[in-house]
Structures are given as structure tokens and as C-alpha cells.
């Protein structure tokens, strides 16, 4: 559960009390009553300005390719431990229930994120104790398949995101097997308003921007990113790049950015790990090791949003109507 604290801003009422004692009779009683009412209101308001701290964990797992039951068991084991460790939100990587290079396995491993699904019923049950982001292949009622992430909380599916951008170039072949998602939406959770994106989605600048404008104060990003790009640096070029853009989104959108990547191998592909959480100042809060399985936790002080945005009001000053206007012009050329 979240740890709560109270903002004491505006609570110092001492001068007013001195003035009240100088009055007499009914006038004093009315003013005293009114002061008490206003104090109660301010006290309640102060609860609405809670300093909320939540524990976020990134489950940087390896998966068994095409074996959903084995991967489900790993999810449930990690979730159980996370509950014991006081974790509030547990984020798994892209396609965490299935493995990544599924190819012709796609139709054999698909799920539906509801309580009647033989896999999701266990995950939803586990979500009564800890909120979870899980990666899976979603099959819609018309039998189209999507790379998907579901946010599960308190036994319910709070949101499902379908991957918008399916990389079909270089070593990637997703467009051959999946349908692309068609919407990007922020959603409300018991900890605030969040947004989810999957891997290639956040190599494009527009989905994080849209989630920001839709009210997301935390981006929950998941990947199964094959590591590549060798030089004399002690990390792969893909690690350098993904850390750069995550830090950039956190800084430009003054928001939290949590990224769960996976580890392990599929044939010759290494999944590079190195999952991160950045705060609204672009400061790195934690990073998982490269290439290894791990559960990496950080305490998130949601009130950092208040402090950062007071210093740097980029959200206040953003002009989405200008973007809309200019995009309309550009698209209508």
C-alpha cells in the first residue's frame, strides 16, 4: 500500500487565531466556527495533496519461447515475492507471457485479458495484491493478433494497450504476424494517471507526447529489445540509445518513465536488460543489470511531479492546439 504523508502548506493559521480572541460574543463564535470549518476543509484538502510514495519494481525476466504456462508460473512467483517486498506496481517486459520471436507460434500462444481466460484469471487474482503490467499476445474477437500490455489492478483489467508500431525491418518481422494498435490512451489507476507503450512505440516521439497530453504522469514502457551495436564502449549501442530517449522523455515531459526490458537469449539474439526508472527531472532512480534476470525496485515520490513542474512548467506552457493546427495544415498540403 502507498505510504502517505501530509503537505503542511497553508496550515499555519496562528495570526488569525490572535485576531479572533480580540473579538467578542456571537461575532467571535461565528468567526470561530467559520475558522474551524475552513481548517477542516484545508485539512481534507491537504490529504488530496498527499505526498504519495509508491514502490515500483521492474521484472527483467527471461522467458520460455512459446510456453505460456511456464512463463505464467514465473510471473506468479515474482508477484508473490513482490507482495512480500512491499511492491505496489510490478512491470513485466514486452511479451513476457510468451517470449519474443514467436513467428508461427503467435496464434498458439494468444490470450484474452479477462477473468474467463485460463491464463489471465491467475494474473487477475494476483493483481488483488499488487498492480501488474504484463506482456502478451492479444487475440480480438475477429482473430486479429496484437502485441499487447495489460495493466491489472485489484482483480480487474484497468487498460490494454496494443503496440502501435510493429518494426518490420532489419532483424524484425512483426508486421508479418501482428495487427497494429490504433489508439494511445492514458488511464487512471489507484496511484495516478499512467500510460503504457511497447518498445518501437517509444522510438517514435508522438505516442509518449500523446500520453503526456492525455494526462499520464508516468510512462510504463516495456520491451524485448535485442542488444546490438558493438564498439569500444562497455555497453551496446542499443542500450545507450534507449537510455538516452527514456531520459529525454522524462526530462521533456517532466514525467516518470519506467522501462522494463527483458533478458536472456532466443537463438542468437541477446536481450540486453538494463531496465531503468527516470524521475521528472530526468534523474536515473534505478537501473537493472545488463543481460541478467533481476527484479529492480525504486521508491517513486509522486510529489516530485509537483516540485519539477513548479520549477519547469513545460506541461503548463505546452500548446497542443498549435500542434493540432500545424499538423492539420501539414497533412492537408
Amino acid at each position: 500500500m502507498p505510504k502517505l504523508g501530509i503537505s503542511w502548506e497553508g496550515m499555519d493559521e496562528k495570526p488569525k487565531m490572535t485576531a479572533i480572541t480580540a473579538m467578542a460574543g456571537n461575532q467571535r463564535r461565528i468567526l470561530l466556527l467559520s475558522f474551524m470549518v475552513s481548517s477542516i476543509i484545508k485539512f481534507v484538502q491537504s490529504f488530496l495533496l498527499l505526498i504519495m510514495k509508491i514502490n515500483l519494481a521492474l521484472a527483467q525476466i527471461n522467458t520460455t519461447l512459446g510456453k505460456v504456462q511456464i512463463n505464467l508460473d514465473k510471473h506468479l512467483t515474482i508477484a508473490k515475492q513482490a507482495v512480500q517486498d512491499g511492491v505496489d506496481i510490478l512491470v513485466f517486459p514486452e511479451l513476457s507471457l510468451t517470449g519474443y520471436v514467436l513467428q508461427d507460434l503467435v496464434p498458439a500462444v494468444s490470450c484474452r485479458a479477462n477473468i474467463n481466460d485460463p491464463i489471465f484469471k491467475y494474473l487477475l487474482d494476483a493483481s488483488r495484491s499488487v498492480d501488474m503490467v504484463v506482456g502478451f499476445v492479444d487475440e480480438d474477437t475477429r482473430h486479429r493478433f496484437y502485441v499487447a500490455s495489460a495493466y491489472l489492478s485489484q482483480g480487474k483489467v484497468a487498460h490494454v494497450h496494443h503496440k502501435l508500431y510493429l518494426p518490420t525491418y532489419g532483424l524484425f518481422d512483426e508486421g508479418r504476424f501482428y495487427a497494429p494498435g490504433n489508439s494511445v490512451r492514458a488511464f487512471d489507476t489507484r496511484f495516478g494517471r499512467f500510460g503504457m507503450l511497447i518498445c518501437e512505440d517509444f522510438w517514435h516521439a508522438s505516442p509518449p507526447y500523446l500520453l503526456w497530453q492525455d494526462g499520464a504522469d508516468m510512462l510504463l514502457l516495456s520491451s524485448a529489445a535485442p542488444g546490438r551495436g558493438l564498439n569500444n564502449e562497455p555497453k551496446l549501442e542499443t542500450s545507450t540509445w534507449v537510455e538516452l530517449i527514456n531520459k529525454a522523455y522524462a526530462s521533456l515531459f517532466t514525467t516518470f518513465v519506467a522501462h522494463a526490458n527483458r533478458s536472456g537469449f532466443e537463438d542468437g539474439l541477446n536481450f540486453m536488460g538494463g531496465s531503468t526508472i527516470f524521475d521528472p527531472n530526468g534523474k536515473l532512480l534505478c537501473q537493472a543489470p545488463y543481460f541478467e534476470e533481476s527484479v529492480t525496485k525504486a521508491e517513486i515520490d509522486l510529489n516530485q511531479l509537483n516540485r519539477t513542474r513548479a520549477r519547469l512548467p513545460l506541461l503548463r506552457d505546452e500548446r497542443p492546439e498549435l500542434v493540432l493546427h500545424e499538423l492539420a495544415r501539414i497533412l492537408n498540403k
Partner: protein, 274 residues
Amino acid sequence: MEINLSIDPELVRKILKEFIHSEITRVGFSRAVINLSGGVDSAVSFALSVEALGPENVLAIRCPYKTSSPDSLEHAQVLIDQFGCPSVTIPISEMVDPLIVLEPGMSEIRKGNIMARARMIVAYDQSEAFKGLVLGTGNKTEILLGYTTLYGDSACALNPIGDLYKTQVRQLARGLGIPDAIIAKPPSADLWTGQTDEGELGFTYAEVDKLLYLLVDQRYRPEECVEAGFSGNFVRLVFERVRRNQFKRVLPPVAKLSSRTVGYDFLYLRDWGT
């Protein structure tokens, strides 16, 4: 244009060690076998597999032919002693000579291919006996140039060093503690006396690695490489060699007849279900 072939040996070592461990253990094995030629490529694959699996789980195989350089056998022994692995020495002269003598005047290329394939037979036989998978030793330079014997030295269950150019393999070798004598000696398939890779290819690894890095990794066009200072003949020779040897890098094409055909639309990773 920037040519950066330097690597961080520790990073590469970590990835390749994990790769070997993952790809061998996930299919129910815990051991590997490897043909040790005494050269730097097999030395690097060998050292990585020892780190991944433990010295007792890696079988080093030496397969000398009667004309093989004594250095090859000796350098392989240095590695076996250094890493403390079990080993077997199986001379191949008695396997290959009966075939070679059938045709007096047989070319060196044919003899070399027969030797490479005899070593493959030994490795796969030891694979069954030792219950270990065959580790590959081909680097990116020779894979791209096709400087390899199909179903001979290129045959393996997994290849940890196939995405490292020769000059990068040498950097990794230093990080793995491979003796300088092995790293510094002229690369040779040792298929006939005095053979060297660079003598046979007609250019050095240092030169061709730079060109391949531009053509393959950085996607420069051949004419852009000529503009950058590589000789036109050299660029044409290398580019053509890469193209001509594509057949060595793919499975043989199956003639498609049905609605679902292996190699075209029956698509699963090897790691399917593991």
C-alpha cells in the same frame, strides 16, 4: 567515414559466455566439443565455452594430418593445458589418404576440403560420445568471404564468434588470456605446408575487415568505398566474393510445392519451446 572495429572485450565476453550457456543448456545439454586447430579463432571459442560450461564439460579435439604444422598441434596443447580440459587427439591421415590416393594429382583445394570434412566427422562423432554440442569457430570475415569448407569447418551446432571480424577476434583473444604466440602467428587453415589465409586470399585481414565493416555493417555502396580510398579492384573482388558465397550462409533452398514449406512459411526459431 568512421571505421571503428574496436570492441570492449569484457562486454563481448559476457554476452558470448551467456549465449553458449543458454543455447547449450536449454536443449538439455551441458557439454561442448570443439576442434582446436591451434589458431586464434578456435582458441577464443574454446576459452569462451570453458568459461560458460566449466573445463570438465568441454572436450578439445585435435585432428592432425601428416603434413600439419607441428606448431598447430603444440599450440592446441598449450590451450588444453592452460584451461585444464579433457582432450582427444585423432589423426586424420588414415581417414583421408585412401580417398586422396584414388586420384593422383588431386588439387590442394580438394584435399583441403576432404580434411576439413574429416575433422567435421570426428567432431560430430565425439559430440555423440561426449554428449556435447559442436562449437563453431568461424569468424565474420571468413563467413562473409566464404573462406570456409561447406559441411567442413563451417559445420557446428552454435557459433559464438560468427559476428566478430578477425581483427575483433584478436582483441577478444587478448582479453581471454590466449597466449601471444597464438594471437600473433599468421592465420592459416594449415591444409598444406606453408598455406596462410592472407597469402591465399590475396589481401590482409586488417584491410578486408575495414572494407567489410563499411559494406556490411555501415551499408556503404561499393563506389563510396572506392571514393574513400579503397582500390576499385579490391572492392570489386571482395564484394563479388561475398555475393558468390551466399550459398554457404543459407540452408539449401527447398522447391516450394505445398501451401506450407520448410524455409519459407514454416517459421519457428530453433529455440522453439525452450
